[in-house]
């Protein structure tokens, strides 16, 4: 490593002579990046240390336990894990078709460039809205809507476990709808970038072979950009899983197992946000254990997303 050799003060093998040694700039950059990595390790270590009593006591049964009753010392996160996964996946289900459509629309020349830029800016601005504002908006707009139409759904389709009543305004569905809006800019921005990065030669080739614009988009552009779109989806999934404030305000915060979209549910991050202040003893460890799981899940998802994104960029460079 270059950084190491500089840290030791020994002259590097390649010295082009344009910078005097020792190179403080490179050294401080190396230090800063090392500190960042160390910080992540430190955070993980601290959470693990605090979670240890609960990990020791509950083991893997923590993951499959269906009851979370701090007053009885019973801690199981299965309903919360399901709630986390279900709310994020549902959010993607709503956001992916919409986000992808916006990305395709913005990467084609349907509209004059300034108008496209404006729409793109607006969609990306959604990412700048604070989470708590989404939560408030959800409370005043989405909750009454879900309450009203949810009751109709439960009435007509209540025989399906997915829509079993009674319908609550603060439910899995409400949280997922708002989450979908929150991850929309991520999906749109990354997908649009990978669509724009598709080499124009491919498009020209498709046209030259007599393909229509529709066929070109579906048959050439989208498949070429697919890894980028997958990456955008995975990264959005990570964001949806970690989202806290808006979800805590909308999901109903109930740790009960239920198949219904219209029932209240809970997520790991909302559980942590709700219960940490008043927790004591083993409950603190149990919450830390839940935090460990959340960190592992989001890290894994984000690493997967980044990996796919890198591969795409490399393969697209190769095409040019």
């Amino acid at each position: 490593m270059g950084g190491n050799s500089i840290a030791k003060g020994s002259p590097g093998p390649i010295n082009r002579g344009y910078r005097p040694r020792p190179d403080f700039f490179r050294f401080s950059c190396f230090l800063a990046s090392a500190l960042t990595v160390a910080l992540l390790a430190l955070i993980l270590g601290e959470i693990l240390y605090k979670a240890w009593p609960a990990i020791n006591k509950f083991g893997l049964g923590f993951l499959s336990g269906v009851q979370w009753s701090p007053n009885r010392g019973v801690f199981g996160v299965l309903p919360v894990l399901i709630g986390t996964a279900a709310s994020s996946l549902l959010a993607l289900l709503f956001a992916l078709p919409l986000g992808l459509a916006i990305a395709v629309f913005l990467s084609e020349n349907f509209l004059p460039r300034p108008v496209r830029q404006f729409i793109r800016f607006m969609v990306e601005l959604l990412a700048a809205i604070p989470s708590v504002v989404y939560g408030l908006w959800g409370i005043f707009v989405v909750v009454p809507l879900v309450q009203q139409y949810g009751a109709v759904l439960a009435d007509k389709l209540g025989f399906l476990p997915l829509f079993a009543g009674p319908a609550y305004g603060n439910s899995l569905l409400t949280a997922s709808l708002v989450l979908a809006l929150m991850v929309l800019p991520t999906i749109t921005a990354i997908s649009r970038n990978s669509l724009v990065a598709v080499p124009p030669t491919l498009r020209e080739g498709a046209y030259a072979l007599g393909a229509t614009r529709w066929e070109t988009i579906l048959g050439v552009i989208l498949p070429t950009a697919a890894p980028g779109i997958v990456a955008s989806t995975i990264l959005s999934f990570g964001r949806a899983m970690g989202e806290t404030m808006a979800v805590a305000m909308l999901i109903g915060n109930s740790q009960r197992l239920s198949c219904s979209l219209l029932s209240p549910s809970n997520t790991l991050s909302a559980l942590l946000a709700n219960q940490f202040a008043e927790a004591e003893g083993i409950q603190v460890s149990a919450l830390m254990y839940a935090a460990v799981i959340l960190v592992i899940m989001t890290l894994a998802v984000n690493i997967a997303g980044e990996a796919v994104l890198r591969r795409t960029q490399r393969s697209l460079v190769g095409l040019k």
Binding site: S69, Q147, P166, A248, P264, N274, E278
Partner: protein, 335 residues
């Protein structure tokens, strides 16, 4: 001029002579009495410009922890400290009852604007999920002439750990074996039905927004937000509307033990509102800094005497004379 006031004045006067430069006191804990403590802090500053009291409502559990760690000068808790917590403080903590409040069941039922009566069987049934519609016979029986809709009941509870939950579930578990078995009591429990919101304000918002909902909130909060409150059946089988007077009646019938820790799970008096709780301030027996000790004493004594008059304005209950006397006596040895 009554005795507690004189004692307080004496404590205050002796304390104030020690006060030199400005002293800053930090306290944290229970959210339930926070509006009152903050009011006391600002009123206290008017009569005593040298002392700045800063109270942060971070929750009883966190408040006790910070107090034990020595981060704060005083703490506050809705549930009295446990014996193990007192021993953790190396016997250096005194609990002073500072005020009391009741917890109400507030509801939002279209067409039922006020005066709903809930028997013990009815409200326990609702909370454990046995009663799911507003026109259930168990509710209708006590409310002849009230047009109860055939609407599903949404129970609203607290999603965060809370002293309010501890007091409320403590009462429910005391009056119902079924509740005790299915839910139990504590600061954070698992509710068999319904949705949950964070803090009194979260529960209030959910009740206001959800037709057919019922939830437990602290009386001052419910009154301030104009929530409709149900009259609850007490041990003497009377239906008692929550009010400052009915809560005061409950306090009057409670005998406070010498360690000042009393849990009123199910009061016996004919006119007692059933869910009432004291809330406590935690102070140290000995402070390293004499000025701080004097300031804490002066502030708590102020709250126990002059401050009691402010309590009803904010929805809290003025402590009975006898309790104030005992509390001031417990404050006396602090130094």
């Amino acid at each position: 001029m009554n005795l507690p006031f004189l004692v307080a004045a004496a404590i205050g006067a002796s304390a104030l002579t020690n006060l030199g430069a400005a002293t800053a006191l930090t306290g944290s804990g229970a959210t339930f009495p926070a509006p009152l403590y903050q009011r006391w802090a600002s009123d206290f500053k008017k009569v005593n410009a040298d002392v700045m009291v800063n109270y942060q409502s971070i929750g009883s559990g966190a408040g006790v922890t910070q107090f034990l760690q020595g981060v704060t000068d005083f703490g506050a808790s809705d549930t009295a400290m446990k014996d193990e917590e007192i021993s953790q403080s190396k016997q250096n903590a005194v609990m002073i009852p500072a005020t009391a409040g009741s917890i109400v069941l507030a509801y939002n039922v279209p067409g039922v604007l006020a005066g709903l009566k809930l028997s013990r069987a009815a409200y326990i049934g609702i909370l454990v999920g046995g009663i799911t519609k507003w026109n259930d016979p168990a509710i209708a029986k006590e409310n002849p002439g009230v047009n109860l809709p055939s609407m599903p009941i949404t129970v609203v509870s607290r999603s965060d750990g809370s002293g309010t939950t501890a007091v409320f579930t403590g009462h429910c578990a005391e009056v119902s074996a079924e509740f005790k078995e299915k839910v139990g009591s504590g600061k954070a429990v698992t509710w068999p039905v319904g949705v949950a919101g964070k803090g009194n304000e979260g529960v209030t918002a959910l009740i206001k927004q959800t037709p057919g909902s019922i939830g437990y909130v602290e009386f001052g909060f419910a009154a301030h937000n104009n929530l409709t409150m149900a009259a609850l059946e007490n041990k003497a089988s009377n239906f008692i509307t929550p009010s400052i007077e009915s809560a005061a009646a409950t306090l009057a019938s409670v005998k406070l033990p010498d360690d000042l820790r009393a849990f009123i799970l199910d009061p016996k008096g004919a006119n007692d509102y059933p869910v009432v709780s004291f809330t406590w301030l935690l102070v140290r027996k000995t402070y390293a800094d004499a000025a701080k000790a004097a300031a804490v004493k002066a502030f708590v004594a102020y709250g126990l005497t002059t401050g009691q008059a402010t309590a009803p304005l904010l929805g809290y209950v003025t402590l009975p004379q006898e309790v104030v006397t005992k509390a001031l006596a417990a404050l006396e040895p602090v130094k």
